[in-house]
């Protein structure tokens, strides 16, 4: 049974449209014109318990609006949604007990208080039994190395430390679902890896369902097998990450290091992506030309010292999807 289910979810924001200047400001007091904008337009998906899903899209695509509806702080204009059996906006507080939220750009910790006191406060808010609280805190402290800054005020923590604190805080009450909004933004590689490891472990060991909203697709690649791609309020892809790579990653790159000097370099069926001295990057379509055939063609005409094939990274595929939009050839695959 799905833990999250949305059907034709839609959210329209209504804003006042007024003329510029002082006249417009006064005019709007008496006569108002409204402008409607659909932030989310018919989003449907379902998630099984224990899934990690990358919910991605460009800025203004409707990701945060969807998350806000799932957390119950926004009421959908139309459509239905259920989160762990509840309609979130009808039972916001009950729904909040089932979820944990981490925002990369906003902290739920108390700025002036030590981390430990913020955790104590969260224990009181979520009514976590003392035993469970101690066990969770000990485990998270161990996993995220929190002990050395547990008594430091949050305002004195580095971004990486604060994020680790935020993660522990969001998981203290054993939520069924965790919404992560840009959880690794601004973090260094070591901190990112620690956070990713933590998310993966919590998902594996506790069966926590995770919705990961991010622009850093490395997070998605590392953690989830499924992605939901949203653009202009609509789901343009819902399915396996590998399938996306298969279907959209049609072009690969052959990196060739030439052993001799070849001012004129050309290979039939491939285009030169870049060339720096003896290092040439060739782009080819794997549907029309196999890597083996291309390598053979190169080796027949040139002497080479090294060769490598680079698979398309998910970032370039998603960039292409953003630019080209939804293609009828790629139907939305129910997970």
């Amino acid at each position: 049974m799905a833990i999250i289910e949305t059907v034709e979810l839609r959210k329209v924001f209504r804003s006042i449209k007024r003329e510029p200047g002082l006249g417009g400001a006064f005019g709007a007091l008496f006569s108002r014109r409204y402008e409607e904008k659909a932030a989310v337009e018919g989003v449907s998906f379902s998630l099984e318990p224990g899934e990690i899903v990358g919910y991605i899209g460009p800025n203004g695509a409707g990701k945060s609006t969807t998350i806000k509806m799932l957390t119950g702080i926004l009421v959908p204009t139309s459509g239905t949604l259920r989160v762990a059996g509840l309609v979130p906006h009808e039972r916001r507080e009950a729904n909040a007990e089932n979820i944990g939220v981490v925002f990369g750009q906003r902290s739920q910790l108390y700025w002036d208080l030590p981390l430990r006191e913020s955790f104590e406060l969260l224990r009181a808010i979520y009514d976590v039994p003392r035993e469970r609280y101690r066990a969770n805190l000990a485990e998270f402290s161990d996993l995220l190395d929190l002990e050395r800054f547990m008594d430091t005020p949050v305002r004195q923590l580095s971004l990486g430390e604060r994020m680790r604190g935020d993660f522990a805080g969001a998981m203290l009450h054993d939520p069924k679902i965790v919404y992560l909004d840009e959880p690794t933004i601004g973090l260094d590689v070591v901190a990112k890896e620690a956070i990713r490891g933590f998310i993966g472990r919590v998902n594996r060991e506790r069966g926590t369902t995770v919705i990961l909203t991010t622009h850093d697709l490395a997070d998605v690649e590392r953690l989830s097998r499924r992605i939901i791609l949203i653009d202009e309020g609509r789901v343009i892809y819902d399915g396996a990450l590998e399938r996306l790579r298969e279907e959209y990653g049609t072009h690969r790159t052959l990196v060739v290091t030439l052993a001799g000097s070849y001012p004129e370099f050309a290979v039939e069926g491939a285009t030169i992506e870049s060339r720096e001295a003896n290092l040439v990057r060739l782009r080819f379509d794997r549907r029309t030309l196999s890597a083996e055939a291309l390598v053979r063609r190169v080796m027949e005409r040139y002497t080479i010292s090294d060769i490598a094939i680079v698979e398309p990274d998910i970032e370039s595929i998603v960039r292409r999807l953003y630019l080209e939009g939804y293609r009828a050839a790629l139907p939305v695959e129910p997970a």
């Binding site: 119950g72 702080i73 009950a94 979820i99 906003r106 108390y110 406060l121 009181a124 808010i125």
Partner: protein
Amino acid sequence: MSARRFRFEPYVEFAKRAIAREATYRFDVFTGLASVVIRVYLLRMVWVALYAHNAAPRDLPLHAIITYSTIALLMGLVLDIDQTRALYERLHDGSIATDFMKPIKVPLYFFADGTGEVLFHAALVVPALCFSCTSTCRRLRCSGLSR
């Protein structure tokens, strides 16, 4: 649909954390303490000077006017909280969303936070109140200005 049981504990904790937050900066606390004592002292001096050089109203002796104005000043300081501003700021920067994502009643959260601030301010005026009481009593005993 079962109703959720209301719990006071989070709101008591919010109030306690608000007190702890107000007491974070030592410099603020001690200058705040000193400022209240000085304000009470100056207020008293103004009334003493006014009563010393002018005819006092018959039904309003010096100790009564000092008591009244001191209490008014201290009450103003104790209740000097601005939860509207706190709410506005949280709305403006969007951080109120995180409050609504918790299983709490948000208006009660702000009330509890404000209560914590009031309690902290109340503790802050105690030294000034003691100073005011002792100095007024001493003056009442030692001089005839109040009559």
